[in-house]
């Protein structure tokens, strides 16, 4: 960030860097963070690393239990399903669908939400009151219910699920951005730059944003864990990813019929979802913890 060195801030780490420095010292958060990075890598490269196809099955390898079981086979580490599809490969491909998509979803809704939120923070009066009422209504409806409503309107499918979750998450970002921007604009340094004659957008971009990124990040992790659960739940209910797609929730629903004879087809996707959400929440916890510590300093 090249800008005039009016303030002596440059010698301090940026708020974001400060946060990272504290964050780094919390071991649990770091474990969560490395799991999170691992999942992102898997979401990008999973399809290349997967040993088998997630859709084509081996018909002589039906319902093979995981490798540690007596009847297991090492080349199918986590066993196979009723069509002889490798569970490990399905889960790896599923990472890009459930986790990868949720990540993208969060980024899209974050960008839209932050833009609308900061614009609305600059407005006041009737428009603002209307928006407040509107946000109140939308935020009082739980995200999953809203996602189900939107999928019900758009029709089932993974693409519609993605749009539904994006739409559901936007109000949360609007709300937090609006709140953070309003709070921040009351502070003296913003007043200072306003007195310098900076335009509202300039203030927003150079003064306020760097100071609220951390809070938005915290909200983003919350949004991501909700997004993973929403995508998986919709997939499980048959409203999300459709038949051959190895989305985790859909894979779990597919395993339902086999629950009593091949329980790993239900356990494994469930564990995968749990793992992804816990990792995300650990990162979120870490960020919030660090935020609190920074404030207390």
């Amino acid at each position: 960030m090249a800008r005039d060195k009016i303030y002596l801030e440059e010698i301090f780490p940026s708020p974001f860097m400060q946060l990272w420095l504290i964050f780094r010292k919390t071991p649990v958060a770091m474990v969560g963070f490395s799991c999170f990075i691992f999942l992102i890598v898997l979401a990008i490269f999973g399809p290349l690393l997967a040993p088998h196809s997630p859709v084509e099955g081996q018909f002589d390898m039906l319902l093979l239990p995981p490798a540690w079981h007596v009847d297991g086979n090492v080349s199918y580490l986590l066993g196979t399903d009723e069509l002889g599809r490798d569970m490990l490969s399905r889960l790896m491909y599923g990472t890009s669908l459930t986790f990868g998509l949720s990540f993208i979803v969060v980024i899209i809704s974050l960008v839209i939400g932050v833009i609308i939120g900061s614009l609305s923070a600059l407005t006041s009066g009737l428009k603002s009151s209307f928006l407040n009422h509107f946000l109140d209504v939308i935020l009082s409806i739980p995200s999953l219910l809203l996602a189900i409503i939107i999928v019900a309107i758009l029709g089932p499918g993974i693409d519609n699920t993605v749009w539904a979750v994006v739409l559901v998450l936007i109000p949360q970002f609007i709300h937090i951005t609006r709140y953070a921007v309003k709070e921040e604009s009351r502070k003296d340094y913003v007043l200072a730059s306003r007195l310098d004659g900076a335009s509202p957008f300039r203030i927003l971009y150079y003064s306020i944003f760097p100071n609220i990124t951390d809070r938005i990040m915290g909200q983003a992790t919350l949004a991501q864990s909700a997004a993973i659960l929403d995508i998986a739940t919709l997939g499980f209910l048959g409203l999300g990813a459709q038949i051959p797609l190895p989305e985790w929730g859909a894979t779990l629903a597919n395993g339902l019929d086999l629950f009593y004879i091949a329980p790993w087809t239900v356990y494994l996707p469930g564990l995968a979802i749990l793992f992804a959400v816990v990792a995300t929440n650990l990162v979120g916890e870490g960020i919030r913890h660090a935020l609190k510590l920074r404030k207390e300093r």
Binding site: A152, L237, P263, V277, L282
Partner: protein
């Protein structure tokens, strides 16, 4: 309080208008003709169609159509289900109480477990107990509810055989639906097996209610913990301890009461969350509630049922929301000044 009531009333009317407008416009978004989506009359003869078109004012502009729709809703006419051709408002009257019952029991369980644990965590702030409770609570809200439900069935219904896996009550008992709330109906019925039915219904509700309660319970833990920590930090607590009250006296006489008020404010929001979780859980436990019905309607593309179900469900959630706001305001005069809804 009067101004507060007025504000809430305006919010309520605003929301209802928004929700009905939404469900009205949804009819045009669904595939097929709007009038059919609205009424569900898929087998209507041409003359019946003309009648319906008149009733819903489709020849006039969209504003009048909306008004006609609104008057139908106010009269309790939500159309027919496209799949079963049965009256939707009658079906909802049957199904909604089951969901309310399940959600209330779950809410009760969630509060019963969550709030004390949160208080304990706050009292043992930053100690092992605190961390342990927090870790468990994080695990609790990370777990996908449908998976948890399956595991619960496998463990408690199949392996241990403690609780039944599906339904509201054993089908052998015939309970005449009067209020729709199963437990009240059982008590009102004159069945010779009344008490057996009552205990059977209790064993049926425990498992799904506990599964639903997990996530809200973890949230109550956090809320209770935060609010207790805040209360313990206040000056009146310090004053009390300076007066020489024992720690126990402080906690039980002052801290619990004051932190509970703060929690009640969130019960409304949590209830909405809980109803959504209940929808998914109803599918797994075959609970005859509105959530399962709604999800099945989505499968069957029963648009009339979808839009009316959603309308009723969101209205219900909002009403609960406003009610808790009122309770909170009644308990805590300070909150009456708040301009907007709790969040």
């Amino acid at each position: 309080m009067f101004v507060f009531t007025l504000r809430r009333l305006s919010l309520f009317i605003f929301t209802m208008l928004l929700l009905t407008l939404l469900s009205f416009s949804v009819n045009f978004l669904f595939p097929g003709e709007a009038i059919i989506n609205l009424t569900g009359a898929i087998n209507a003869t041409p003359s019946q169609l003309v009648e319906l078109n008149n009733a819903y004012q489709t020849h006039r502009n969209i504003f009048w159509q909306y008004l006609a729709y609104l008057s139908h809703i106010i009269n309790g006419d939500l159309g027919l289900s496209m799949a079963s051709q049965s009256d939707i408002s009658a079906e909802i009257v049957n199904l909604l109480p089951a969901t309310i019952e399940l959600s209330l029991v779950a809410l009760f369980i969630a509060m019963l477990i969550g709030i004390p644990l949160g208080f304990i965590a706050a009292i043992k702030h930053n100690k092992i107990t605190d961390n342990l409770i927090l870790s468990i609570s994080m695990l609790g809200y990370s777990i996908p509810v449908f998976w948890l439900g399956l595991l619960a069935i496998l463990t408690f219904s199949i392996s241990l055989g403690w609780f039944p896996s599906a339904g509201q009550i054993s089908l052998l008992f015939e309970i005449e639906p009067v209020t729709g709330i199963q437990f009240i109906d059982i008590l009102l019925s004159d069945s010779p097996y009344k008490w057996q039915a009552f205990s059977d219904a209790s064993t049926h509700i425990i498992l799904p209610a506990c599964v639903i309660a997990v996530t809200p319970a973890t949230i109550f833990i956090r809320l209770a913990r935060t609010s207790m920590i805040e209360v313990l930090d206040t000056s009146y607590i310090r004053a009390a301890s300076a007066k020489g009250l024992t720690f126990q006296q402080i906690i039980f006489r002052h801290a619990i009461r004051n932190s509970l008020i703060k929690i009640i404010r969130h019960v409304g929001l949590q209830f909405a969350n809980l109803v959504t979780i209940a929808m998914v859980t109803e599918v797994i436990f075959s609970w005859p509630g509105i959530g399962r019905w709604l999800i099945e309607s989505i499968y069957q593309r029963d648009y009339t049922a979808i839009q009316s179900g959603l309308l009723v469900l969101s209205c219900f959630i909002f009403v609960v929301h406003i009610l808790t706001d009122f309770i909170y305001a009644a308990l805590n005069p300070l909150a009456r000044g708040n301009k907007y809804g709790a969040r």
